[in-house]
C-alpha cells in the first residue's frame, strides 16, 4: 500500500466543480465551502475532496502563468519606481 493517490479520472470529473466551490475564486461577500461541505454537496467523501482540491489548486494554471508573474512584477515595480521616485530612467521598455 502506498500513499493515498487520487484516481486521475475522478480528479478530471470533479476538479472544476471543487475549484468553483472552495476558496480558489473568491467573492468578497461569499466565503468558500469547506472540504466537508463540498463533499456533502457532490456526494463524495471528504478525503477525496481534499485531494481533488489540493491537486486542482496546483494544476489550475500552467507554469506559463509563473513566467507571466515574473515579468508582471518586474515591470510593475519599475513603472511605479519611475513615477513615484521621479526616475524616468527606470521606466521599463
Amino acid at each position: 500500500m502506498s500513499v493515498f493517490k487520487l484516481d486521475p479520472e475522478v480528479y478530471k470529473r470533479y476538479k472544476d466543480e471543487v475549484l468553483k466551490l472552495c476558496n480558489s475564486f473568491q467573492r468578497i461577500d461569499q466565503p468558500g465551502l469547506s472540504d466537508k461541505q463540498i463533499a456533502e454537496r457532490l456526494g463524495l467523501d471528504e478525503r477525496t475532496v481534499t485531494e481533488i482540491r489540493c491537486v486542482a489548486e496546483r494544476d489550475c494554471y500552467s507554469l506559463e502563468e509563473w513566467e507571466k508573474a515574473i515579468e508582471f512584477k518586474r515591470k510593475a515595480t519599475l513603472e511605479w519606481s519611475a513615477l513615484a521616485l521621479k526616475r524616468p530612467d527606470l521606466k521599463p521598455e
Partner: protein
C-alpha cells in the same frame, strides 16, 4: 585563565533570564561512556570541558488541551530554546573568554545528531529517560533542549537520583493492567513504537521502534518527501505522477520542510497521556 567562582551561577542566571526553564552543566568526559565516537563533546570542540544544557520552550498547557492535531504539529515551539543556546554560546565567549560551540539541532547525517541532546540533558542533571523515550524533568516534565559545548570548566551538576518516570499513577496502572499510559497508546505489539516492563516501580526493559516513530513524529517531512519522489519516478502514468506531486501529502510535506522549525515534531501521543510530562501547574 580561570573562571571566577561565581561564573556558573552567573551563567545559569543569564540562561534563565534569556528564557530557559532549567539550566545544568555536564562534564564533557561523562559522555565518553555513552556516546559513540565522533558524537562526543571533544569530537566537536577539541579541549571541551563542559556541556551547558538548557531546557524549556515546552508546549503550553493549552497546546496539550487543544483538540486540533495541527496545533502541536505545525506551531511547535522548539525554536525558542535554540535561541537561548545560541545566546549562551556568545555570552560564554564574550564574558569569560573561553571557546563555546552551540550544538546545531540538526543531524550530522541520516537521523544521527551531532551530539545527543537527550543524553546531554541527563548528564547535566536536568532529567531522565522515560519509558516513552523523551527525557522528562521532575518538575517541568517534557521540554525541548539546547546545548553548548565549551572549554570553560563550569561546575558540573549531578545526574538525577530519582527519575520522573514511571510516575505514581503509571506504577499503579502497571500493577492493575500490566501497562502504562504511553505503552497503551502506542504499543509495539499492535503497530506502535513502544513496549516495556516495570518491576518494583522501575523500568527494567524498554523497547522503542525508532523507524516507526519516525513515520509518526516526522509524518510530513524529508522521509515522506523521499518516498513520494521515489514512487513518482517509478510511476509510468503521467496523470498519476501529477496526483502524487500535487497531492495533499506531498504538498503538506513541503510546507513542513519549509517551516521545519515549527513542524519538527508531529506526534505527541505518548507525551499527551503521560502524567509526568506536563509540569505541575493547574489551569482554567
Amino acid at each position: 585563565m580561570t573562571l571566577p567562582p561565581t561564573a556558573t551561577a552567573a551563567l545559569k542566571s543569564v540562561a534563565l533570564k534569556s528564557g530557559a526553564t532549567v539550566c545544568g552543566v555536564a562534564d564533557a568526559t561523562a559522555f565518553d561512556a555513552y556516546a559513540p565516537e565522533k558524537h562526543r563533546p571533544g569530537d566537536l570542540l577539541p579541549g571541551a570541558r563542559s556541556v551547558v544544557v538548557v531546557g524549556g520552550a515546552q508546549p503550553r498547557e493549552g497546546d496539550w488541551a487543544a483538540t486540533s492535531p495541527w496545533v502541536l504539529q505545525t506551531m511547535g515551539t522548539t525554536e525558542r530554546i535554540q535561541g537561548v543556546g545560541r545566546r549562551l554560546a556568545q555570552y560564554i565567549e564574550h564574558e569569560f573568554g573561553y571557546y563555546a560551540l552551540y550544538v546545531p539541532p540538526g543531524t550530522a547525517s541520516g537521523d544521527t545528531p551531532f551530539l545527543s541532546l537527550m543524553l546531554a540533558a541527563q548528564l547535566a542533571g536536568l532529567g531522565s529517560k522515560s519509558l516513552a523515550g523523551p527525557v522528562l524533568n521532575r518538575e517541568h516534565g517534557f521540554m525541548y533542549w539546547s546545548a553548548v559545548i565549551t572549554t570553560a570548566p563550569f561546575d558540573g551538576d549531578q545526574v538525577e537520583a530519582a527519575a520522573a518516570c514511571p510516575a505514581p499513577p503509571c506504577r499503579e496502572m502497571w500493577e492493575r493492567e500490566g501497562t502504562t499510559p504511553c505503552l497503551k497508546v502506542c504499543p509495539a505489539a499492535d503497530g506502535g513504537c513502544l513496549s516495556g516492563k516495570l518491576e518494583s516501580g522501575r523500568a527494567v526493559r524498554t523497547f522503542y521502534d525508532a523507524a516507526r516513530c519516525n513515520t509518526r513524529v516526522h509524518t510530513h517531512w524529508i522521509g515522506g518527501f523521499q518516498k513520494v519522489l521515489e514512487e513518482t519516478l517509478n510511476e509510468p502514468d503521467r496523470d498519476k505522477r501529477k496526483m502524487l506531486l500535487y497531492g495533499d501529502f506531498f504538498t503538506r510535506s513541503l510546507w513542513a520542510i519549509t517551516y521545519s522549525s515549527t513542524n519538527i515534531a508531529q506526534c505527541f501521543e505518548c507525551m499527551r497521556v503521560c502524567p509526568a510530562a506536563h509540569g505541575l501547574k493547574e489551569m482554567k
